[in-house]
């Protein structure tokens, strides 16, 4: 196995993302989530594969579907769950919620709830890293839907022109809201758009955490030594609808969804671990531990207070 990281740690992290989203879905359907919740289930290999290469001091900019990137970058499960529920114990004191979760001390700069907006912002973060002469890197996540908005093109052009230390991770989950990629653009690979901006574009199996990890590792190393940004397209699939309230079956077939579920990134990585000698009881221990941790986070969020009235007018200026 080429992987030099702690394999069990990777497995644990992906499982945390999955169980966390299941926990949020449960709370959503019980009416505890004040906003919509855009769940990440099925895409876990991307966030974990990329973020396992990042340092604490590196930055992440994510999207409305950003719980996973927050967790993968090290944000506490308890605090993130509290944020999603609009509780004062969240890192944004409940003011940002699911779609704007931010934890600057963990390097999660912002979740940009409007598609594509984080792409030029990441170019500026990269510019700032260059000007401040630190050796940080910024990882910017977005879906294939974002590649059709102006921000993608303007942001990628600036990032390329300025050779900033950024990696752009397109999580191609095949659907933008209800519209499939083939109904949005004639091109096959979003990564091919990188050529238009003079930067490398790479396609990778987004359900293979090792492949994502290795691809991101090279892009991040390149960015860190001043070779400029890379566009990485991770081909994956959104198991659920656009948001927790969308069954996601009006615009795609159950067969299609089931086919992708067969390719579950977590299940296949577990199988790989077992085939390489991981002990079943060791994995079960991890699984039980993750479940307990998620339960604890959800309980913490539910029991946390909402912000007090005085909070309404704080943090504007």
């Amino acid at each position: 196995m080429a992987l030099t990281l702690d394999n069990i740690q990777i497995y644990r992290k992906m499982l945390e993302l999955r169980r966390f989203e299941e926990g949020i879905a449960d709370l959503y359907h019980k009416g505890y989530v004040p906003s919509s919740a855009h769940l990440y289930i099925g895409q876990e290999a991307v966030a974990v594969g990329v973020c396992s290469n990042l340092r604490q001091s590196d930055y992440v900019l994510t999207t409305h579907r950003g719980h996973a990137h927050n967790l993968a970058k090290g944000v506490s499960m308890r605090r993130l769950a509290a944020e999603i529920l609009g509780k004062v114990t969240g890192p944004c004191k409940g003011k940002g919620g699911s779609m704007r979760a931010t934890s600057v001390s963990d390097g999660v700069l912002y979740s940009c709830s409007i598609v594509g907006a984080n792409i030029p912002i990441a170019a500026g973060v990269g510019l700032s890293i260059k000007i401040r002469k630190t050796d940080q890197v910024v990882a910017c996540f977005f879906g294939e839907g974002a590649s059709n908005i102006g921000d993608f093109h303007e942001g990628l052009n600036l990032a390329a022109l300025w050779r900033v230390p950024a990696i752009y991770v397109c999580e191609n989950n095949l659907y933008a809201l209800s519209v499939s990629q083939s109904r949005s653009t004639l091109i096959e690979d979003i990564a091919s758009r990188a050529e238009a901006y003079g930067i490398p574009g790479v396609v990778v199996d987004g359900n293979d955490v090792l492949a994502v990890h290795q691809t991101a590792e090279k892009a991040i190393n390149d960015a860190r030594v001043g070779l400029g940004p890379t566009l990485i397209e991770c081909k994956t699939y959104r198991w659920l609808g656009h948001h927790a309230g969308d069954p996601g079956l009006d615009y795609r077939t159950k067969e299609e969804v089931d086919t992708w579920k067969e390719r579950c990134p977590i299940k296949s990585f577990r199988k790989l671990l077992v085939s390489r000698g991981a002990q079943e009881n060791e994995l079960q221990l991890v699984e039980a531990d993750v479940e307990a941790k998620v339960r604890d986070a959800m309980t913490f969020a539910l029991e946390s207070p909402f912000p007090e009235q005085a909070e309404l007018l704080r943090d504007i200026y």
């Binding site: 940002g96 990269g126 943090d315």
Partner: protein, 325 residues
Amino acid sequence: MVRELNMIDALREALTEEMRRDPRVIILGEDVGIQGGIYRVTQGLLAEFGQERVRDTPISEEGFMGAALGAAITGLRPVVEIMYADFVANCMNQIVNFAAKMRYSSGGQLRVPIVVRSMVGHGRGHGGDHSQVPMTWFMNVPGLKIVVPATPYDAKGLLKTAIRDDSPSLFFEPHILYRTKGEVPEEEFTLPFGKADVKRKGNDVTIVAISAMVPRALESHDKLREEGISAEVIDPLTLRPLDVDTIVGSVKKTNRLVTVEYSPKTGGIGAEISALVIERAFDYLDAPIVRVAAPDVPIPVSPPLEKMTVPSVESIVEAVKSIVA
């Protein structure tokens, strides 16, 4: 004898001083580097500070505005030039949905210290999408500050304050006043936000004038004086925060209010100021409030038509006389 500068030179001096003072200040925008800005506000800055800090951008407003936010939330203090204020429409998303809200939505974790400098107004026959005065677009966006200087002195002092402020500021420079000279002391100074300047004292009527309408209000003041009418002229200098106390205090003294702006009247600055005065000084008003503003039309190119979209000194004088018996 105090030195005289025009607004272009005063702005450049503010930028230069702040860039010397604070290495985190950078400039981004179209034509700001080699060209020195279309009105030469940034001339010479590239030579002094280098291309790392004075950066010509592609024509890509949403892109470089977003980049400015990214730089701002990670420790820099970008000053972004949007060549014509009309083009803020091209980056409205980054300004309204992100710059204005990131601090609040992050529960105070983020600061967005950017200044968006932009030229406003008529006088060039540039037509409806190159001549607007769009401060009002941002009046109901909490999180932004709106700065509207009309003299070289005010422009310099307020720009320095905007650069040092931790909130995003929109800084609107009236094109028609760029070359008008005024006194600007050589020694260091800044001007506070939210503190109106009473440009002339008076007793019979309060005139609140915005941006390029300030010199016209001052001219009106002189004409009215010849007719025995004493007008108080107030320039709020910033619309967010707005110095309501000074305006209301003045109306309590004069009992009459005329507002003057060159944005369209509907939903305008005059509407907001009028409502505030009615809320806080209704009993003091001896006459209806009069709003002098641009008509609700896009700005035409044809010179005589363009001129009709801008309130004249005569229209201000007439407005005052209509409520001062």
